[in-house]
């Protein structure tokens, strides 16, 4: 009896086709665009690495990247500690635990563009509760014109939308700590801070790594909310990488540079995520956490 044949390929084929259509072909199309130039009529000319070179020397891209890094750093610096703080103060069991969980999950259920719209109206000086109140209090607040007002609104909006994710993950991490740890710490006369530093933080390390990675990747790709809220303005104040990319690709139809830009964007996210991951898992080993 022949025990070897090639039939197994048929089992793998559906996956190969699916991955090809959903990932490989679109990605290769982008790669294709990034090394060619077109003047319409489906005529393409080889451009080599010219677009990449262009983009690397584009002040516009460097500015957008700078804004993006500042934005993601601020987001992480606020959302991670705040999420942990919220998680630590949520009730551990009973009816209120469920109520809190549902309330915390609510912002996560709202679509991005709706969040943008909510804050766009909320922040308006004429009809928005927030804008009107601030204006009435004498604060010079107008997110469509003021640089700081626009940034503050985008950041607060993101914190409002996504802190829940960090809080829920941290909460799950905290729930997995057996009560005996807290009892043992109590018997040792450990302070609240020691309990956090030496029990809760090491035990939450795994979920926090995931939370930080998710929040980094997501905030680095942010598009819809600031697009709906400020459209990238005032001026270019809140034009983050994705917004700039869409302007270039669809607004100006500069497909070549936009494709080169996308690939570099993708690489930047991958590299930074990888660095984050390596640093955090190494910390893990040093600290002996789980």
């Amino acid at each position: 009896m022949k025990t070897e044949n090639q039939k197994a390929w048929f089992l793998v084929l559906p996956v190969l086709i699916l991955v090809a259509f959903s990932a490989v072909i679109p990605l290769m199309t982008v790669v294709n665009y990034s090394v060619q130039d077109t003047f319409g009529n489906n005529q393409f000319f080889w451009a080599g690495l010219a677009w990449f070179d262009d983009m690397l020397h584009s002040e516009r891209m460097w500015n957008a990247l700078g804004r993006q890094i500042v934005f993601s750093s601020i987001i992480l610096a606020i959302e991670v500690p705040l999420g942990v703080l919220v998680a630590r103060n949520m009730p551990k069991k009973g009816v209120w635990a469920s109520v809190c969980l549902v309330l915390m999950a609510l912002p996560l259920l709202i679509p991005w563009n709706v969040v943008g719209t909510i804050w766009q109206i909320f922040g308006r000086v004429d009809i928005g509760l927030l804008g009107y109140t601030l204006d009435a209090l004498g604060v010079d607040y107008n997110y469509t014109q003021g640089f700081y007002a626009a940034w503050a609104t985008v950041i607060v909006m993101d914190v409002w939308h996504w802190t829940s994710l960090v809080a829920l993950l941290a909460y799950a991490g905290l729930q997995s700590i057996p009560d005996a740890y807290y009892q043992a710490a109590k018997i040792d006369q450990a302070s609240r801070w020691s309990v956090f530093r030496y029990i809760e933080l090491p035990k939450m390390r795994g979920v926090l790594t995931i939370a930080i990675l998710l929040r980094f990747m997501d905030s680095f790709k942010i598009y819809t909310e600031p697009f709906v809220l400020t459209g990238g303005g005032p001026g270019n104040a809140t034009t983050f990488l994705s917004i700039d990319l869409v302007k270039m690709a669809l607004g100006q139809f500069d497909l070549g540079p936009a494709a080169a830009f996308s690939l570099m964007y993708f690489l930047v996210i991958m590299v930074i995520s990888y660095v984050f991951y390596i640093v955090m898992t190494n910390l893990d080993k040093e600290e002996g956490g789980e």
Partner: protein, 361 residues
């Protein structure tokens, strides 16, 4: 140093976890709390430690009322079934942590940590972190953290339950040695009668929130005060059968009628419950043994011994017999019990007559 529980009880949400209990633990004693899961062992320990406040009653430490005192202010150490250590600290720092919180100077801490590590055989692992250690070493580290404090009261809540057989045996053999050196009051909760006997000391048997008996472990085992204690302190549980005495005859269950003889002569006429331990049931008859016709339900072979589950007139008995007995379920089986191994309890459960073998020992 003495720890006294005076009429201490604990009720949580209308359910009584511990009924009013009196217990006095003396300095330098090993006290085993023996009982099945949910018997109230952990609750009792939490009350002793001060992690819970009793619903009623008083906790006295050296005669002083410490009932409302926080656990932080008492001299207590506790070890749990889970291996509880600070995950990010080395073994050294873990052992040192309670001393640092007590504010001792560096040199004293160092001496005591190294002494305790040596006692717990952790010296080679002292720079490692708990999660790099085996389960047994992790629990040694937790024990070391409890011992280093020199707390007057050391509570061990099923500390060996999560260890595999070999490590459990190893650590169990060491515990009495460690305990002797410390001079503290040790309280050790376990579900296993065998463990209680190996640890010795005193034993309090618990059943459904009540301490059924408290005394030296071997004598609680040999002369249980009542049927409940006998059931708790026997694994598998003690087997029971109703007996009726009239004149010089004793009737077992609904059938077998034997002469009361010298063994049961002094009993008043009436109904009693007879009990015998599984290891006293034999499949080989002997002179003077009581014989019972039963139906075999199932046999469980555990290496060199066999658990024989039989049905005797509707009551399930378990016997532990030597050797591998591969018998067919459902077949009739004649089992034998030496009258010297039979305890007699009153219908209220109180011990009326201990088994003679136990009295002699």
């Amino acid at each position: 140093m003495t720890l006294t529980l005076k009429d201490v009880s604990k009720v949580v949400g209308g359910r009584t976890h511990v009924y009013p209990t009196d217990l006095t633990l003396e300095k330098g004693t090993m006290n085993v709390l023996l009982g099945p899961t949910n018997a109230g062992k952990t609750t009792l320990m939490r009350l002793m430690a001060g992690l819970d406040v009793p619903t009623s009653g008083q906790v006295l430490w050296q005669g002083e009322d410490v009932t409302g005192q926080r656990v932080q202010d008492r001299k207590v150490a506790m070890v749990y079934q889970q291996f509880i250590n600070y995950p990010s600290m080395s073994v050294y720092d873990n052992i040192a942590s309670p001393l640092r919180l007590m504010g001792l100077d560096k040199a004293t801490i160092d001496t005591r940590v190294r002494e305790t590590a040596e006692l717990m055989q952790l010296t080679p692992q002292i720079e490692r972190r708990p999660l790099e250690l085996s389960g047994g070493q992790q629990q040694r580290c937790a024990l070391a953290r409890a011992l280093v404090k020199n707390a007057g009261l050391v509570l061990l809540d099923e500390p060996l339950a999560n260890l595999d057989y070999k490590l459990r045996e190893e650590l169990r053999a060491e515990i009495p040695r460690i305990f002797e050196k410390s001079g503290s009051i040790f309280v050790y909760a376990t579900t296993e009668p065998e463990e209680a006997l190996l640890l010795g000391g005193n034993c309090a048997t618990l059943w459904q929130g009540r301490v059924t008996q408290f005394g030296p472990t071997p004598s609680v085992y040999r002369q249980p005060a009542d049927a409940t204690t006998a059931r708790v302190f026997s694994d598998p549980p003690m087997n029971f059968i109703e007996i009726h005495k009239t004149g010089d005859r004793i009737r077992f269950g609904t059938g077998d009628d034997v002469a009361a003889g010298a063994r049961w002569q002094d009993l008043d006429d009436g109904t009693y419950t007879a009990g015998f331990r599984p290891n006293h049931m034999t499949l080989e008859g002997a002179d003077g043994a009581l014989n019972f016709d039963t139906t075999l339900v199932v046999t469980e072979i555990t290496g060199s011994e066999t658990f024989v589950h039989v049905d005797h007139q509707g009551t399930r008995w378990v016997g532990l017999v030597h050797g591998v007995r591969d018998l067919d379920a459902g077949r009739p089986l004649r089992v034998h019990i030496d009258p010297r191994h039979v305890y007699v309890f009153g219908t209220d459960g109180r011990l009326v007559q201990p088994a003679p073998y136990a009295e002699a020992a």
